[in-house]
């Protein structure tokens, strides 16, 4: 017994070191595992409020660029509206159309933004109280930003598209060939579209949009343009590099989109799996 105590006292620094190291490494491994990433995160009161305070100050320095983005978006929306009016000559009751949409849009603001890591997250300043839930699409006026992951009362953590764990259904706008959007972990302006079938005709400059084959993202949301591509001859699939429309290093006001029929569809899927 005496010897055990002596041993413990003699090597206490080493033992504390090893114990804490195991704790630290297990937290790290957990964070890399997307499936159960219940890690200690910034979506809690203390850090969230601190980031919120910071954003209140730093917002003033970004007013000009945010204004620019909003103006651009207004312009695009106006153009779309005119086009829409041109096509739909017989007047339609817009209130009915909007009540019937399956998407609900919330606005929110990015208060913490990472893009230099290999797995990045964002923090939004709205949460449970504002109606946000895990698994909703996060978009900016220029394109896709990420997916909500962890929601607390006032804050929400978002998996950025600059995260190696993310995979989003996307397609070539002109030919409707689908692929999976991923990130390799290096350049915050470039993402990759993999598993595009060989039959697709890919050109540099082609537009990539979301595929709409998911219950998270609406279809036809802009992502970026083709920067370069390689054909994997063994597997017969394209690996396409995409330049994002979005500047992920400068995010401000964003939209969170909820698909209202998601629960229903998920339930149906689960039921089929159970009955098999």
């Amino acid at each position: 017994m005496q010897q055990i105590f002596n041993f413990l006292i003699k090597y206490k620094a080493g033992l504390v070191f090893i114990g804490l190291l195991i704790l630290g490494l297990s937290l790290t491994v957990k964070a890399h595992d997307y499936q159960n990433s219940k890690i200690i995160s910034a979506a809690n009161g203390v850090t969230g409020n601190l980031f919120h305070m910071k954003t209140n100050v730093s917002d003033y320095f970004r007013l000009a660029s945010q204004n620019e983005v909003l103006l651009q978006e207004n312009k695009n929306l106006q153009e779309e509206l005119y086009q829409y009016r041109q096509q739909q000559l017989p007047k339609i009751d817009t209130s009915v159309v909007f009540n019937d949409t399956i998407f609900k849009v919330y606005t929110s603001k990015v208060i913490a933004n990472n893009y230099s890591h290999t797995d990045n997250y964002l923090l939004l300043n709205s949460g449970d109280k504002n109606g946000l839930e895990p698994g909703m699409a996060v978009l900016s006026s220029l394109g896709v930003v990420g997916i909500t992951e962890q929601v607390s009362a006032n804050f929400t953590r978002v998996i950025s598209i600059l995260n190696r764990n993310i995979s989003i259904n996307a397609k070539l706008k002109k030919s409707n060939h689908f692929g999976t959007l991923t990130w390799v972990g290096e350049d915050p302006y470039i993402v990759n579209l993999v598993d595009v079938p060989r039959s697709a005709k890919v050109n540099v400059g082609d537009t990539i949009t979301t595929g709409g084959k998911s219950f998270i993202f609406p279809g036809e949301v802009l992502i970026g343009t083709v920067e370069g591509f390689e054909l994997d001859l063994n597997r017969g699939y394209y690996d396409i590099q995409i330049k994002l429309f979005n500047d992920m290093t400068d995010l401000g006001e964003i939209y969170v989109v909820k698909r209202k029929d998601k629960e229903e569809a998920m339930e149906l899927l689960e039921n089929t799996e159970q009955s098999e």
Binding site: A13, V16, L23, T28, A31, T118, G185, P188
Partner: protein
């Protein structure tokens, strides 16, 4: 008491200002490791380990990075006595060491070694993949240079104030 102020000050400095720096688009200097330099050379070993783990963990909480900063700071703290012995030699062994009064070159070596150990563990855990070794080296090299420069700068500022 001073320790606590340094602790909180460094966490705030790192999370609110330096994490937004992004030199050349992706380089972040990690200066909070300076805490280990500010601690007295013969501070209690177990206490130092626990403190540095908590320091790293608080950075992790802000950055949503799991435990990478906690592990990296812990490893750096564990090797601190060896580094002190290596750079300052006898004056450390005889417990007369005061980092403030050491030569610039020795201080720089000490800071550089500490930063290098910390950043190696940090980026290895962050990248977490052998395929990205080029990215790992790039980050390690660039971040280290700027962390060392900033820590030396801040040390000289603090020294002036103490006089």
């Amino acid at each position: 008491m001073q320790k606590i102020f340094a602790f909180i000050g460094l966490v705030l400095l790192q999370t609110l200002i330096l994490n937004e720096v992004y030199l050349f688009g992706f380089v972040i200097p990690y200066v909070y490791i300076m805490f280990l330099v500010l601690l007295p050379p013969h501070a209690n070993r177990v206490q130092t380990l626990i403190l540095s783990f908590i320091l790293g963990l608080s950075i992790d909480v802000f950055e949503s990075t799991g435990g990478i900063h906690a592990s990296a700071t812990l490893v750096a703290a564990y090797f601190r006595p060896q580094l002190l012995h290596l750079t300052f030699g006898l004056s450390y062994d005889y417990q007369t060491l005061s980092i403030k009064h050491e030569s610039f070159f020795k201080k720089m070596t000490y800071v550089a070694l500490l930063v290098f150990i910390h950043h190696s563990v940090l980026f290895a855990l962050e990248v977490f993949s052998f395929d990205l070794w080029r990215l790992f080296l790039e980050k390690l090299l660039l971040s280290s240079v700027f962390s060392i420069l900033l820590i030396m700068l801040m040390m000289s500022l603090i020294k002036k104030k103490l006089r």
